[in-house]
Symmetry: C2
Subunit: 487 residues, 2 copies
């Protein structure tokens, strides 16, 4: 500590503080605000994706940076959606050089796969993103925080406002650790705004705009239970796997993705918990109305919500005290104890899985970017049992490969693969294999499942990729799992 040095100087009375009110944080024009900022080539800016495909903020901010001729920007976007295709010209003209994200889909993803990004793309998990910001591996100069509502001092609430998004979990690390934080809002409310997702001490500037986006864009097409009988069979077998594991009992904790099969698993789980009178502990993740129903029915004591996947979830987080907000770090940061570490079961998807159970959710069968880990890595590592639910074929292409195109989640953290033709268990989990066999589940090796598929379709063809590396798949702890190639 320096306070007990002998050369301490006592403040001169002429230098005593003046009683002045601080300047207003609120700007009505992006031009006036950006004139105030120290914008220069090579800066790093960030955004959160809670408005998902309804987000209007990131494009607005980046286009203004382009207008000002700022080049060589690193964009740290928690996720990127089809709506962000407007950024493609900014890759071409060198406004954006590097991208760090946890999920990317749509034309922007395709453009990057075709080599339009001059630098690299780094694909992180949600927990890995928080870790990298907290550890200052990723240093953000300006965080652009889309704020559904904000008071004139910067208290942000995700549940109030026209474009309410619910939890703002992925923006929390940015709000704490970015050098400057800008709230962009279409709804300025009286002080103090609450409930607060981000408090005024973390907000430097507020930009008032006409609209931050459309909350209907939050719901993607996939957040419905599948009606496909093959998908339903997989979901039913997944429930059997959960039962056989011994984990499905009072105090059970659960997460699933928002894909059609995963949601069907949740639906079957609900029926089963009601029938057997099982009271779970928590469910976590991106939260859907399926889970808020289960909360309100008392099947879970609480929900951990890092982002709301539909409008029902937003309504629930507004009214239910046991529908808890969590930050990206609290969700999945590998350097702390996180919610994922308390999970019993997670249900996940895959675009590809290999014989070592390594999973690809980053690129499609053509090698083109179309997704990302999101919480995949984090929950697989944390949950007592991670289950991949997948048909053996997706659009006539086999899901099991000798080697996945891009490793998103290491196979050492994937425990079970449930397909319509059988259940493969990671050989690392002999305990599960025994339990499943005792319960007469159709356990096969992943090699056997692959042989069935290859019998139908033949050995899958290699993707034609170029030598140029356009980016990397990062593990949540910061190590690099794989290269991503230009296609």
């Amino acid at each position: 500590m320096s306070f007990y040095n002998d050369d301490i100087k006592i403040l001169d009375k002429k230098d005593y503080p003046k009683k002045e009110s601080k300047p207003s944080k609120v700007y009505e024009s992006i031009k006036d605000l950006f004139d105030k900022l120290d914008l220069k080539d090579g800066i790093t800016v960030s955004s959160h994706h809670h408005l998902r495909n309804g987000d209007a903020v990131l494009n607005m901010m980046m286009l203004e940076l382009q207008r000002r001729g700022i080049k060589d920007i690193t964009l740290v976007a928690s996720s990127l959606f089809p709506v962000h295709k407007e950024l493609i010209p900014l890759l071409e003209d060198g406004t954006i050089t590097n991208i760090i994200t946890s999920y990317i889909s749509g034309d922007l993803a395709k453009a990057i796969s075709k080599g339009k990004l001059k630098g690299k793309i780094l694909m992180q998990s949600h927990g890995g993103r928080a870790r990298s910001i907290i550890d200052k591996n990723v240093v953000i100069d300006y965080a652009f925080i889309a704020a559904p509502s904000c008071d004139p001092m910067g208290n942000i609430s995700g549940v109030n406002g026209e474009a309410s998004c619910g939890s703002m979990g992925y923006a929390i690390a940015d709000a704490i650790y970015a050098k400057k934080k800008i709230a962009i809002t279409d709804t300025i409310v009286a002080y103090p705004n609450y409930p607060r997702d981000i408090t005024e001490d973390y907000v430097d500037y507020i930009l008032k705009v006409d609209s931050i986006g459309d909350k209907n864009g939050i719901v993607s097409g996939t957040t419905k239970v599948t009606k496909d009988p093959v998908g339903l069979k997989i979901a039913k077998d997944t429930l059997k796997v959960m039962k056989a594991s011994g984990l499905l009992k009072d105090g059970f904790s659960y997460q699933s993705g928002a894909g059609g099969i995963s949601l069907a698993v949740t639906d079957f789980l609900r029926d089963y918990m009601i029938k057997e009178n099982i009271k779970g502990s928590f469910a976590s993740g991106g939260i859907t109305g399926y889970l808020t129903d289960m909360l309100e029915e008392g099947l879970f004591t609480s929900l951990y919500d890092v982002q709301c996947f539909d409008l029902k979830a937003i309504e629930s987080i507004k009214k239910n005290a046991n529908h808890l907000r969590m930050s990206g770090s609290e969700y999945g940061n590998p350097e702390v104890s996180a919610v994922v570490d308390n999970l019993d079961v997670v249900i996940l998807g895959a675009t590809e899985i290999d014989l070592d159970f390594n999973v690809n959710v980053i690129t499609g069968a053509d090698g083109v970017l179309m997704g990302g880990s999101g919480g995949h890595q984090d929950t697989a590592a944390g949950a007592k049992m991670s289950i991949i639910v997948s048909k053996l074929f997706s659009s006539r292409l086999p899901v099991i490969k000798n080697r996945v195109d891009v490793i998103a989640t290491p196979g050492t953290t994937i425990d079970v693969l449930v397909t319509e033709r059988g259940i493969a268990v990671n050989p690392l989990r002999q305990d599960l294999i025994e339990k499943f066999k005792e319960n007469d589940l159709n356990v096969m090796t992943i090699q056997e499942l692959k042989a069935i598929a290859d019998n139908f379709m033949g050995e899958p063809k290699e993707i034609k990729k170029k030598d140029r590396i356009i980016g990397y798949s990062e593990y949540r702890d910061g190590s690099i799992l794989d290269e991503i190639h230009e296609v």
Copy 2:
């Protein structure tokens, strides 16, 4: 960013993560826990004071450090109370060398004034404490966080548990920025514990003890409205000052200390707001039942609570969604926009005030440590009008001096002094002088008030102090306002 270096290494499959559950954070014995820590001479440890004079945790932790022979510790305690007199032998034997705090009273304070601390004591404001931790001027090795309830992963709630304390605002900076965080609790509850004051990602270890203290110790003797007619006159005149200032209207924001005169002001304010149908915005600070009543009556739209001053406040924060928690940084950090910056009026006490309106709340008339800034500096700087309420004499000693013993709050941030004989306004606030005269308030110069007092008692005597500097009074921005001398 380093991720696009050419020498990037792809993780070898043999180094893929193992799926292992993390070790338990929970320890049942302080000995077992401390054996795990890297304890050595010269470490810095911290504590919060939400259990005030009922706290049993800090003594317990420090005595174990003493037992282990750890020397030269810097103790960063948000406040210290009479109950902490057990630490006196630790000053003498060199276990504790330096203390950083915002308030200190009781025998420990007296021992320090008598020179028993080998190093120095730094007196900070509550906001200054948060700033110093966030800026890493003060780097905490171990934060000892008394946790009224905690689940096995470290989610801490201040409102559940036998020794509930309500808001845990002063522990937040420690939880985020200390190198290691230890929750000490007598109440371990099922996961996940909520509402959360501190989340599991900020807790490294949990120590289960029999009792963290007595919540009845939260209430100090002073949190009652004064019955003294002189005090009541001052309170009435203070309400007149508030009215005359023009600030007392719809949207009004307010803070007062928990002293008897301050609470009487709040009581008169309540009657006036009801009578005039004034709807305030927020009240802030340490929160008492007087303010929660006003919240529930609709006189304020919300409360900002950094610590609960009585049990009624704890009940209120448990049930009222508009009774908001705030951290010490959100409350008063000078480097961000803080709640204090939004205050219209703050009512404060003083042990001494000088002709430049500089205030001492750190030492008594005998020069002995007996208090501290707490939020005094922060609210005085932030509020549109800061009012000192004080009798002209305290225990027969005059409150107005030529020079206060220790400057805690610079006079440039103090606007009005209300005494039983007249109202003095800082000459920097000619606007207030005009308004008060227009409203026929008994405005005098502070020199005139001093002359009245000196007429009764004679010029106050100088305190006999030794040359040795035992510590400093720090301003919230980190500059040093004054020396504190051995007595």
